[in-house]
Structure formats: structure tokens, C-alpha cells
Symmetry: C2
Subunit: 284 residues, 2 copies
């Protein structure tokens, strides 16, 4: 477990990591770094970090573990900012929702330091360090994405870190990660936004709990999701096109008035969806 | 307010109406009726009804207010079963998620009795009287659907009943109702099921809270939703085709790599979705 942790980027995720580490890793000193003072001062006041600096080199000089917690489009830049300043054996990871491009950028961090990508699937449609929570990662799935060139010890260190924060850790190579999350995470976001987009004021006036649950993710930060979709564009396009094909089949089933086929399709989805809740039952 | 209420169909909605009326309408006697004994005995044990019968004529003979709480495909049949046995001035309503066909069937109930359609937008992916709750309707929207032939006093009686149970009541004609709920309720269900259908075991293993929220409604009862989609087929097909067009536009925006257009689209959805939560704030 790290004794000198550096968190770069103090938003919801970075702040929650700080609070969770304070709870769970005794004696760990936490340095914060970001491109602006505001979130660092707030994080210090919340007790998510012990000290802070705006200087990337200073931020990582003593660190044995570094977590990059900025939007995906900025992670590559920060990898370059810190790559020349890491001490031997330091392990760097990130929390980006896409992994192939970031892990490629991570190769700028070379032995005796290490980069291993991570994607803790925790978050909120709210943002900022003010909504950070020590239990944000409890029960969340975290995907750790070693490549064929990754040091196995470093990958184990990253996995152990997320487990300590409460995550269930699974490993995939970065390309597999990006394909799978395009289906299970990026597609639901695109669809929720599209469902909102086709409403009228009159239909929205009739919204119930089902509509609000189904579309909650669409309230997420537009810039952050623009970057995720752009970075994982090829996979997201494939996922959207698969969903369009599925909906076109449903539309045909309805128009041909085939209630047996309709029920079979609905029952299959209900069976799969019911089997997923709650996650904890699956793991016992 | 009714003094002799009859609830026909004792599932989640019928049972919750019984419990809510017990809480909120002093002295009201509640008769239960259904096509099988099991749910009636359970409802009696839960205190959702005071007595029960399997005989539709007996069930409604003394009733001043009747609520039909079975799946949409069976409401027309029950309207016929009770139509000849209502006392003068009795008001009948239902809880079906579609309204045009049901309100047409409701014309079998003639003066001096009255039928007025209702759709309380409350429910759950769970079913059965065992999950009934006295507060199920608190804060829910209920659409009351008078037609040009509806007695206005009867419509007011139905609206007042749902308000007493905690609903926000709005009125639409049945055809407008069916068009609006195809967008705000039936479409999210179809889409949630489609999102589940395109997943793989590997992608589902990475599910997070966003996926679970987005697809929760897909766990709903397949027969019930088959009937809703079948009954409201024309509107649901139009809604699905509109969503397909929206997703095709998004897919083109991604393929043409236009991050500004992408962000604008995402930001508009986020703005609309953010403005909807919480409902209570809107109403103050």
C-alpha cells in the first residue's frame, strides 16, 4: 500500500480517492495537484489531501503511487508532465473511462517507473470535490488494463489499491475494455440523451420514476462525455448501430402485430435484467 | 369521497390503493374482487380490503366508486362484467397504462353510472399485492382522461380521489394521453430492453450504477408490457422510429468527428434532464 500518494485532479473521483485512502490506508500521506488552486484548497479543507502544489514535478517527486483523475482528453498531457519526475518504482494509474489511447500515452512512463491503466466504474451525474465521498468505490467494479508490456508487479499494486478502496477488480486489455464499456456504459449514456432529446414539454410533464431512472445518466457533464465518445468513437458507433438494428427489429415486430415474438423479446430482457440485481448476491 | 369502494384486481396497484384509502379516507369500506382467491386473501390479510367476492355483480352492487386494477388487456372484459350491476351515480375508473381503447370500452358503462379513465404513473418492476405500499402514489402524476362524452362531475370525482391518494392530477383526452406516454413511458421501456438485449456476458460483468439505473424498467413484467405495447402500437412505433432517427444522427455526428456538434447535443440533453429533478421543486 502506498505511503506517499499523489492525486492529480481533485474532482468527484480524485476527492473520493483521497477520502477513501484516509479511511483505509493508515499513515498514507496524500499530495494533491491540479492546474488550478480552487479545487485543491477545497480538497484540503475536506481532508481529502494533506498538502498540495501546482507543480507536477514537485507533486510526484516523493510519490510511490500516483492517480491521474482528470477528464480523459487531458490524461495524456499530464502523463507527459510527470513522466520525467517519477522516482524509481513509482506506479502511476488513472481513472479514465476509455483506455486504449491512454495506455498508449502511458508508455511515456518507463522503467523503473510504471504506468497501468484503471477504470473504476463509479461516479455520479454530479461533479466536483464537494460531492466526493469516502464510500464512492464500495462495491464498484474497477477494470485494470495491463498490456503485454506492463510490469505484472505494478498491475498487482494497482489492483490491490482499488480493492483496498472497496472495488471489485477485473482485468482486461485496453482494447477489450473499450469495446465492452462502449456497450455497457457509453451506449446507455447515448441512449438516455437521445430519449430526452425526443421528448416534448407535454410528454416531460408526465414523467414518472421510470423515465427519471432511465435517463438519469444524461444529466452528466457534456464535455466529459464528448471526450469519452470522441476517444472511443469507433466502438461507440458500432454499439449505437447495433442498438438501432435491435430497435428496428422491435419496430417491425410491433408493426407485424406478433404478440408472441414481442413477449419473448421482452421476457428475455426482463430475465437478464432481473438476474443482475443486486450485484452483491452474484458475488457470494 | 367514496364510502363504498370496490377494487377489482389486487396486485401492486390495487393493493396500494386499498392501503392508501385506509390511511386517508375515514370510514370507507373496501370490497375486493378478482378472478382468483389467492390475491384477495393476501389483500385481506394485509388490510388492503375489508371483504371480498369472486362475483363481479356482487362486488359492485353497493359501490359508489370502482377501480379496475388488472392488466390493460383485461380491463375491457371487466367493464362488461360489471356494467349491468352498478348503482345509480356509481363512478368507475381504471389504472391502465393505455387509455384510448379502454375509454372506448368504458362507454359500455352508461348513465346514471359513469366511466372515466385514469393512469396513475406509479408502479414498480416488482408485482403482486405483497409489495403494495400506502405511499405508492405520493407525488406521482395521475392522468385523468375524460372524453367529450364524459360527465364532468364524474371526472372531478375521479380527480379528487387520486389527489386524496397523493397524486398530482393532470387531464388529457385519451388519444393525447396515449401519444404522450408512448414517448415518456413506453419508449424508455422499449429502449431499456433493447440496451439489455445488445449486451454480452462480458459487458454485463462490467455493469455499473448507470447501466442498472438506465435499464431498471426492463425488469418489468413481460406480459403486462406486451399488452401495453400492443394496445398502443401505432404511437410506440412512431416513438421508436423517432428515437432511431435521433440515434442515426448521433452516429453520423460521431463518424464525421464533429466534437462541437456532439457537445452541443449532449449539453442540451443534460440541461433538459437536469431541469427535471426533483419534481417537487418544480411544483413549488
Amino acid at each position: 500500500m502506498p505511503q506517499n500518494l499523489t492525486i492529480i485532479g481533485l474532482g468527484l473521483l480524485g476527492g473520493s480517492i483521497g477520502l477513501a485512502v484516509k479511511d483505509r490506508i493508515r499513515g498514507c500521506k496524500i499530495m494533491g495537484c491540479a492546474h488550478r488552486e480552487g479545487s485543491l484548497k477545497d480538497a484540503l479543507a475536506l481532508g481529502a489531501i494533506d498538502s498540495w502544489t501546482l507543480d507536477p514535478a514537485e507533486a510526484v517527486r516523493e510519490a510511490d503511487f500516483v492517480v491521474l483523475c482528470m477528464p480523459v482528453s487531458m490524461i495524456g498531457t499530464w502523463i507527459w508532465k510527470i513522466a520525467g519526475h517519477l522516482k524509481a518504482g513509482a506506479v502511476v494509474t488513472d481513472v479514465g473511462s476509455t483506455k486504449a489511447a491512454i495506455c498508449y500515452a502511458g508508455e511515456a512512463i518507463q522503467r523503473p517507473a510504471h504506468f497501468v491503466g484503471s477504470h473504476p466504474m463509479a461516479g455520479s451525474e454530479k461533479k466536483g470535490v464537494a460531492v466526493a465521498r469516502a464510500d464512492l468505490f464500495d462495491g464498484a467494479t474497477c477494470i485494470v488494463t495491463p498490456t503485454s508490456r506492463t510490469d505484472l508487479g505494478a498491475a498487482d499494486t494497482v489492483a490491490a489499491f482499488w480493492q483496498t478502496l472497496g472495488c471489485r477488480v477485473v482485468r482486461h486489455d485496453p482494447e477489450t475494455h473499450d469495446r465492452l464499456v462502449s456497450l455497457v456504459s457509453h451506449l446507455p449514456h447515448a441512449v438516455a440523451a437521445a430519449v430526452v432529446a425526443v421528448q416534448s414539454d407535454a410528454s416531460l410533464d408526465l414523467r414518472g420514476k421510470g423515465f427519471l431512472d432511465s435517463t438519469r445518466v444524461a444529466a452528466g457533464d457534456a464535455e466529459l462525455w464528448r471526450d469519452i465518445f470522441t476517444d472511443n468513437r469507433d466502438n461507440v458507433v458500432i454499439a449505437i448501430d447495433r442498438l438501432i438494428a435491435e430497435l428496428a427489429t422491435l419496430s417491425r415486430t410491433l408493426r407485424s402485430n406478433d404478440p408472441a415474438a414481442l413477449q419473448q423479446w421482452l421476457a428475455q430482457a426482463a430475465r437478464v435484467r432481473t438476474s443482475l440485481d443486486p450485484r452483491n448476491a452474484d458475488r457470494q
